[in-house]
């Protein structure tokens, strides 16, 4: 088995990178793959609480790199989704304990044990970012439709190109109603500005916060718009490259249609 390492980055923090990583990882496992999600944010671990696995941590990624345990010992098995594992970040260590050489060493082992390894990169473009991308085969960039996130995404895309990675974009937290009102960049705007391939569009969804409150996988909730979007992204990564990308739509009201007819709105 030769697994694929996918790094999830964004540049700017708080755009939904952790949600994207955990949801895509879970969805890939639901598709029948053996998946390891790796939290690369040393000192600020988050994936464990989002995934509801915080009480079961024994070893972490730093322990694996430093040889204190095997990959299998650090990988926490998710009890709700078969073949889904989390390798948590360490919470106490200095973030400099992880080096690119160390990551490259365990990348080999990870590839031999899993079909997909999803690395959650920390925000920023410093050491943690370097560690996350050093062994990556593919890269995903998460971005929200606001000026700061798009600008940081552009910077990260440049850095990924420089490492011969051809990143794909996820536009997160789209609010179609606000796009229609001219208050928010559309995904077309974002794509035009960044000129990069798209892998998925994720609408704003209140269920994301609720599922992280309880530590339950978003992709198991069929009534979650974001969960459905992440499952489709996972299918595209799993070989269904031609699966059409659904546009989040704004359900137009009667009033809206009327005002459109009379030229009050664009």
């Amino acid at each position: 088995m030769e697994g694929k390492i996918i790094v999830v980055t964004s540049g700017k923090g708080g755009v939904g990178k952790t949600t994207a990583t955990s949801s895509i990882g879970a969805a890939l496992a639901l598709e029948g793959n053996r998946v390891a999600i790796v939290d690369m944010d040393i000192g600020l671990r988050n994936l464990d609480v989002v995934m509801g696995l915080e009480n079961r941590i024994v070893f972490n990624i730093v322990d694996v790199v430093e040889g204190r345990c095997k990959v299998e010992q650090a990988a926490i098995r998710d009890r709700r989704i078969e073949n889904l594992f989390l390798i948590p970040a360490s919470q106490s260590d200095n973030k400099d304990v992880l080096t690119t050489a160390g990551v490259e060493r365990i990348a080999k082992q990870l590839r031999s044990k899993f079909d997909f390894i999803i690395m959650d990169s920390p925000a920023g473009i410093e050491r943690g970012f370097e560690n996350s991308v050093v062994s990556a085969d593919e890269a995903l960039v998460v971005c929200t439709p606001d000026v700061s996130a798009v600008r940081d995404a552009d910077r990260v895309i440049g850095l990924l190109y420089a490492r011969s990675l051809n990143p794909k974009l996820i536009v997160n937290r789209i609010e179609p109603a606000r796009v229609v009102r001219g208050e928010m960049l559309s995904h077309q705007d974002v794509l035009e500005v960044l000129s990069i391939d798209l892998v998925g569009l994720v609408p704003m969804d209140e269920k994301v916060l609720i599922s992280s409150n309880t530590g339950t996988p978003l992709v198991l909730q069929n009534d979650s718009k974001a969960g459905v979007a992440f499952r489709q992204i996972a299918r595209r990564l799993n070989g269904e490259e031609d699966l059409p990308i659904e546009m989040p739509v704004y359900k137009t009201s009667m009033w809206h249609k009327l005002s459109k007819t009379f030229g009050l709105k664009q």
């Binding site: 606001d146 000026v147 798009v150 600008r151 552009d154 910077r155 796009v179 001219g182 208050e183 928010m184 960049l185 559309s186 705007d189 035009e192 500005v193 005002s259 009050l264 709105k265």
Partner: protein, 88 residues
């Protein structure tokens, strides 16, 4: 209610377009800024070419990236001291 309706007729303020335009410029500018040596090299090349025809004040010239509402442009400013005569 009525003033709201009136507003709809008159104002066409669209922050989405602003965001897009500002981003397009800042990304271009970011990239130009990164390559400071490129700008210096370019300046030298321009000076060399102009010096073939004019005598210019090399101390007070400037090369800038200018951003307007719709275009971003390279602006080169230089005082011309003399026109060089063509040698026969």
């Amino acid at each position: 209610m009525l003033s709201g309706l009136f507003k709809r007729f008159t104002t066409k303020k669209n922050s989405r377009d602003d965001a897009k335009k500002r981003l397009q410029f800042s990304l271009i500018y970011d990239k130009l800024e990164v390559n400071d040596t490129t700008l210096t090299d370019l300046q030298q090349d321009i000076v060399d070419v102009i010096s073939k025809y004019f005598e210019i004040d090399k101390d007070s010239l400037e090369l800038k990236v200018k951003r307007d509402d719709n275009v971003s442009a390279l602006v080169f400013n230089t005082p011309i001291l003399h026109v060089k005569r063509k040698k026969v």
